[in-house]
């Protein structure tokens, strides 16, 4: 076990420093690049916070859909292949729900302000 602070706490500290202390000092194209950098650190923080839970749920669903075991990468590759072959499609019970749940978990990390995501978040699945 590694020591603390945790990676989440460390990236968050860097992001806050850049946001609060450096942003006011920078202008023009470098200010744009700085915003991108802060967005990246915020994304990493969200992923570190949420990934373990969402990935465990994703693996659980994938095992149910595919009837096999494996890493999240292996299971996604298997699902992609079966959809490509036409063995699974939207008529397969649970597939649409799985893809929705997985995609919503991705957006929560990647782009939580994306309008389509906000809309779907407000909907009862």
């Amino acid at each position: 076990m590694q020591d603390e602070p945790t990676p989440i706490e460390l990236t968050k500290a860097v992001a806050d420093f850049l946001r609060n202390d450096i942003t006011p000092l920078i202008s023009g194209h470098q200010a744009f690049k700085l915003r991108v950098a802060i967005n990246i650190l915020d994304l990493v923080t969200r992923q570190l916070t949420q990934e373990a839970g969402s990935e465990a749920r994703e693996v659980e669903r994938l095992r149910g859909l595919l009837g096999i075991d494996g890493s999240v990468t292996e299971l996604n590759r298997a699902l992609a292949e079966r959809i490509a072959k036409g063995e699974l499609d939207l008529a397969t019970p649970g597939l649409a729900e799985h893809l929705w749940a997985t995609t919503m978990d991705k957006l929560a990390v990647d782009q939580p302000n994306y309008a389509s995501y906000r809309r779907e978040l407000g909907r009862n699945p």
Binding site: I40, L79, I83, A115, S116, P125
Partner: protein, 328 residues
Amino acid sequence: MIEAALSRSVRRWCEGATGATSAAKLSGGASQETWRFDITHPDGVIGAILRRSPKGYGAAPTRAAGLAAEAQLMQLAYEAGVPSPRVLHVLVPEDDLGTGFIMQRIEGETIARKILRDEEYAAARPILARQIGGILAGLHRLPQDKLPALRSRGATQEIAEFERDYRSLNWPKPVFELALRWLRDHDPGPAAETTLVHGDFRNGNLIIGADGVRAVLDWELAHLGDPMEDLGWVCVNSWRFGEIDKPVGGFGTREELFAGYEAAGRKVDPERVKFWEVMGTLRWGIMCGGMMQRFREGPDHSMERAMIGRRASETEIDLLRLLAPRGS
């Protein structure tokens, strides 16, 4: 440095011009650059834009039509009354500026979010969806015997091409697989009529003023194909910039777009438009993957490139909203 070459160039072909000033690079990759500059003239300054490939970068990427074709298309569009900058000069070797062309500069806004939010465009916004329909109808009617040599692409070839691009990324995405299946199952086949297709007609590639669309830009993906492709692409959610209930670039409805197109005397096939919207959504998703790959493999190791890889999931949710919508 570029001003000296521009000055020598404009004096040759622009009668009365005394030189070129205020040159500034607007955008530029390794192979293509856009510059703005002013032509000084006793009757007043002429605003101009240079699009060029610097010397040594003559070859166009496979999907691009090339700058010479772009210049020819813009000039044809201008002559046919499609809002477009007038092409002032096609570069020749004596210009010593590489290959490309110089066009009239049109004032207005191209940044989508400003067009969708700023007060200045409030009066234009409600008319844009219909106006875009009319412009696309005019564009699809450009005389084919005058077009430059362009690649020809129908739905079936495009599906195969995007599938190949996607597979080359080795980036298994179940939602993209689902979209590819849907596209193959709904392939509308050859279009009833093949026309010029702009290929990247969307909010962000239009110069807009308080009075509406002033110019259509970025013709580099022009090709021959199904005219409904342009109507589908302009509706892709990624180009609505948050205004998700206004499919046409965040401006208005499909009905307005279709009405504008049909009022100009051309027929809409809504099923084909939907097909191309799904295709366009997937296309942008795969392009995000391509940018991630370029970031990883080195040529452009910028943070912006890296972050675009993380925008593929936006197209996944949009594909699900199109193909597997959830009840309200």
